[in-house]
């Protein structure tokens, strides 16, 4: 196995059970492995792991759990690809602007995690809620926010989503039910619980999705929220984007029990681990979790195994991991490359069409940057506005 694969295996609690086996381990997640003892790709295993956890916990019937959702239509796949490309281009441009010292403060990028985010948001309706993290650009773009106002906000401009009061880490678009990126790791869990109660009390069929990382799974808020969501059967999907590092700390050293999805067992809810670099795998699993929530069957935890190419923040020297590891991931598991190949193989897109998608994303981000740079700065006195509805 290459180093990346080793890293993947160490990030889950139980090593593959044995050659060619689909045996259920005594606890933890079920893995499918190849004849060589290498995981065959997590997409084939998620149903089994899901099924197994469900059977263990009686959270739902195995038949429901194993039910395959309808395959995505080609147009939908193209839309997902477009979104992933837009996010990649947007974030790379943010990195450039930050390096040019045009973006103040600090920024957290999720380049490399696009499949996880776009696959998760693919299952959501426009009236569903999301709560994002400090690493939130992708979530916000995936839920439909406008890159123009995001870029303006990152640049500290008056025309930004938050009029320059939030910055890159606090972008919100309430018109799209994006309840905001949050600077406190694990700060989103209690908020999504409230959205869940609100949905129940208003008797709508909306769903709330909270994004978090492996680091946040160790906050007490995670436990409280999982328990409360399960107790009240709230329509919530917990999406853990396990990018293997909580700031500088490897998940393999910080997450007891090895997996985060496995913690679902304690709350009697489904927990699924999926390949976070395969957008279709993520979309399928999350769709199932969203359907469950929408149908009143309660919360689920989805853990996507993903990877960020950039540091915890721009400028992070990343002494906690090797350049080889990052390169390896980029070369073997890049979510956009993988999806591009799938789309080409399935004949959904041609090379030319793919080129056009990249060009369109570039143009859209160029326009966002132009808008942001040309926008006025806020008047200093505006710092006193927007505190209260009724001051």
């Amino acid at each position: 196995m290459c180093s990346v694969q080793r890293a993947l295996v160490t990030s889950v609690s139980h090593s593959p059970p044995g050659k060619g086996a689909t045996a259920l381990p005594s606890q933890g997640l079920c893995w499918l492995v190849s004849e060589e003892g290498v995981p065959k790709g997590i997409i084939q295993t998620f149903v089994n792991s899901y099924l197994w956890l469900c059977m263990q916990t009686r959270a739902s019937s195995p038949t429901t759990a194993a039910k395959q959702s309808a395959p995505l239509l080609p147009e939908k796949k193209v839309a997902l690809f477009e979104k992933m490309v837009l996010i990649r281009v947007f974030e790379e441009r943010v990195a450039e602007l930050f390096a040019q010292q045009l973006i103040p403060g600090f920024v957290h990028l999720s380049i490399g995690q696009e499949a996880s985010t776009v696959g998760s948001c693919a299952a959501l309706r426009s009236d569903d809620y999301i709560v994002s993290t400090h690493r939130g650009h992708a979530h916000i773009l995936a839920k439909g926010a406008d890159p123009k106002y995001m870029m303006a906000e990152s640049l500290g401009k008056k025309t930004g989503y938050c009029k320059g009061k939030g910055g890159s880490m606090h972008i919100a678009d309430f018109s799209k039910n994006i309840l905001g990126a949050n600077g406190v790791v694990g700060g989103g869990f209690p908020i999504i619980i409230g959205a869940g109660f609100s949905i129940k009390l208003r008797k709508t069929d909306q769903v709330g999705m909270v994004f978090f990382g492996d680091g946040a799974s160790n906050r007490g808020t995670f436990h409280e929220a999982c328990n409360m969501a399960a107790v009240f059967k709230l329509p919530i999907v917990f999406v853990c984007e396990n990018n293997m590092y909580a700031s500088t700390s490897p998940a393999s050293k910080m997450v007891a029990g090895g997996t985060i999805a496995g913690r679902a067992h304690a709350y009697g809810i489904p927990g699924v681990i999926t390949d976070g670099s395969n957008v279709l795998a993520v979309a399928e699993v999350v769709q199932e979790a969203v359907d469950r929530a929408r149908n009143g069957d309660g919360p689920s935890i989805v853990e996507t195994e993903t990877y960020r190419y950039k540091g915890h923040f721009e400028g992070d020297k990343q002494k906690y991991r090797s350049q080889d590891e990052i390169q390896n991931y980029r070369l073997t598991r890049d979510p956009i490359d993988r999806f591009e190949r799938i789309l080409l193989e399935e004949g959904i897109l041609t090379t030319a069409a793919i080129k056009n998608i990249w060009a369109a994303a570039q143009a859209r981000v160029d326009e966002a940057v132009r808008f942001g740079l040309e926008s006025p700065l806020p008047e200093p006195e505006e710092a006193l506005d927007d505190l209260f509805v009724n001051p």
């Binding site: 320059g164 409230g194 505190l387």
Partner: protein
């Protein structure tokens, strides 16, 4: 529509019932709300009337407060029951980093119409973790409104206003006032605006600025002062943020002497803020420095004799009044020495 005598508990239950009746988005979330109608009887009758909207949760204060925030962001008007004000410590991130900041950080997009209701205060031997008065933490956090009423009528009128307000309100209610009874209007639109203080007793010689339970002690001190011929004005601030400084200024310009009285400990307490503002804005009116009467700077102890020693008493207020009325900037300054002590009886310190 008449006026009846109600306890603070019943005034609160009435306000909640009226607002829940009026607005289906109002709900209450917290621990142990249903079984006893709240630990102070403040929710009596509500679980039967609004079974879906009184939510008993697991012991998860962080998520209870967070749930209030999330619900407020998505169209509801939650009332978060903090059980005891002391437990806000378990949800400080939610209150300080989320509740107080989400509207501002989002450039005014977010709206958080919620009430965090927190019974505070000492005097019942509840010891250090169930007796605190923590209002200054929240007054010091931009983005929150802070209310601390005394009279049952104010409990009703201010709670109704707080529920209808579109901003987060931290609503403190003193544990020793739940049975404090007074006239309360039956009127469903009985609203007291946030940010308005009230003169509880008029006087011309010294202003006692106070709130919550200490209003009682101040009124008692004013009664005793009157027996000595000293006319103290007592102002119940009711809302601490926004602060009704206009009324404070009117009174201090008249009396030229001010004493701030609160049950929270002295150092860094709200009294310091009020004293500073009076000094900055009304310095030329003052005949003496503003004095503060507050709890001593220790946690609230358990044993009644220790607790009483730590908490401000009527005698402490009398001493402070005496010192401001007899303040002499220079030794030669000839001022009438007015003793407010030597009363034949000790003031009562509890009801």
């Amino acid at each position: 529509m008449g006026v009846r005598d109600l306890s603070c508990s019943l005034a609160m239950a009435e306000a909640l019932a009226e607002e829940m009746e009026r607005d289906p988005t109002v709900f209450i979330i917290g621990e142990d709300l249903v079984a006893h109608g709240g630990i102070f009887g403040q929710f009596r009758g509500l679980p039967e009337r609004f079974p879906e909207r009184i939510i008993d949760t697991p012991i998860s204060e962080t998520s209870i407060v967070g749930a209030g925030i999330g619900a407020a962001l998505t169209g509801m008007r939650p009332i978060i029951d903090m059980h005891f004000a002391d437990f806000v410590t378990t949800a400080m991130d939610e209150i300080v980093n989320q509740m107080a900041k989400l509207r501002y950080m989002s450039g005014g997009q977010a709206k958080l119409p919620l009430v965090l209701w927190a019974p505070d205060g000492a005097g019942i031997s509840a010891a250090a973790q169930h007796s605190q008065s923590l209002e200054s933490w929240f007054i010091h956090t931009p983005g929150l409104k802070v209310v601390a009423p005394f009279e049952p009528a104010d409990v009703k009128g201010l709670l109704k206003s707080a529920i209808r307000d579109d901003d987060p309100v931290i609503f403190f209610q003193h544990k020793r006032l739940f049975r404090w009874t007074g006239p309360v209007a039956e009127h469903h639109e009985y609203l007291i605006p946030l940010g308005k203080a009230v003169v509880k007793r008029s006087g011309s010689e010294v202003t006692l600025l106070t709130y919550s339970r200490m209003t009682y002690e101040c009124l008692e001190a004013a009664r005793l002062l009157a027996q000595k011929g000293i006319q103290a004005e007592v102002i119940d601030l009711r809302t601490l943020k926004p602060l009704d400084f206009e009324l404070i200024a009117q009174s201090v310009q008249k009396t030229r002497h001010a004493v701030v009285v609160h049950e929270a400990c002295m150092t860094g307490g709200f009294g310091a803020e009020i004293a500073a503002r009076i000094s900055e804005e009304l310095f030329e009116c003052l005949e003496a420095p503003v004095r503060r009467v507050a709890a001593k700077d220790v946690p609230i102890p358990f044993s009644p004799v220790l607790e009483k020693f730590v908490l401000p008493q009527v005698e402490d207020i009398l001493s402070a009044v005496e010192s401001v009325l007899n303040y002499a900037p220079h030794a030669s300054s000839a001022r009438r020495h007015r003793s407010v002590h030597h009363f034949s009886h000790h003031s009562k310190t509890s009801k």
